[in-house]
Amino acid sequence: MTVTVDAAALALGDDALVLSHRLGEWAGHAPVLEEEVALANIALDLLGQARVLLSMAGDEDELAYLREERAFRNLQLVEQPNGDFAHTIARQLYFSTYQRLLYAHLASGDGRFAGLAAKAVKEVAYHQDHAEQWTLRLGDGTDISHERMRTACRALWRYTGEMFEPVEGLDVDWEGLRSAWLESVSAVLLRATLDVPEGPPSGAWSAGAGRQGVHTEPFGLMLAEMQHLHRSHPGASW
């Protein structure tokens, strides 16, 4: 029993931790100051969630800083590089919609994650709103912004299937989650004058297996940067 609960805490915690780090990479690089603060706020919300979740699974620092790449259980979607602003927004739209639906479900139950989910779902609702507002403006903006947003939505679409693979220890109707997610994301994309990307043709490669510890190449580089300070100075504190 402990093992399955830990698996779920790791999966959700790693999603939040990794996406938090990716969003943090915008600090000093965001297109405008106001947006930098917005992205940093979202990153800090996610970091707070990650700390609670990883603490359920063990020592949060050890889990964040001392695990190898193959021991992380996050979705491949959240480890994808920031790319241009449109890529970051597409990643946010896909993930925050998923997280909002999932956490709303967890919050309505009486499982171990209900308390955290009830608090986090309000944060995540804002993340989704932020992504939606930008998707609408970029998609229905200039020719260039439309093209960039379209490219980003297509590039990241292949990583969305993995979100609906069952996570051990979570009692969720995954197919129901998938259709609710598709409905919500499609509505935003259509309002933004963007078409909903089509799934890979049958037999074609599609991404996945992050939950089993298989990650994409950029993730190793991200981890190296995230972990190097702690690994260089073990046990250091402020």
Partner: protein
């Protein structure tokens, strides 16, 4: 950095019910909806408020420093205009 393309907005925060909105600062945003969201991120992230207004800075008409004397000087020596002769009942807040 293309912030210059975006108009400036003034932000007003109501810190709690019963108080009025107070000017908190300004920010850049492409439109009113995003200005409101930027204001949320910039001015209320430490629990400062329960309500926000954003106003295009261009919509504000301000008094000019050149008019300081005719505008404000005549009020300086008229203490009888101040309600200092009333006793304020105990328990009245925010006066």
């Amino acid at each position: 950095m293309t912030t210059n393309d975006w108009p400036l907005w003034e932000v007003f925060v109501r810190s709690r019910r019963g108080l009025s909105h107070t000017h908190a600062g300004s920010l850049h945003a492409p439109d009113a909806e995003l200005a409101l969201r930027n204001a949320r991120d910039l001015y209320t992230r430490r629990g400062e408020g329960v309500s926000l207004w954003v106003v295009p800075s261009s919509a504000i008409t301000a008094s000019s420093p050149d008019e300081k004397d005719p505008f404000f000087e005549p009020a300086a020596d008229k203490p009888y205009r101040h309600p200092t002769f009333y006793e304020i009942p105990e328990g009245v807040q925010h006066l």
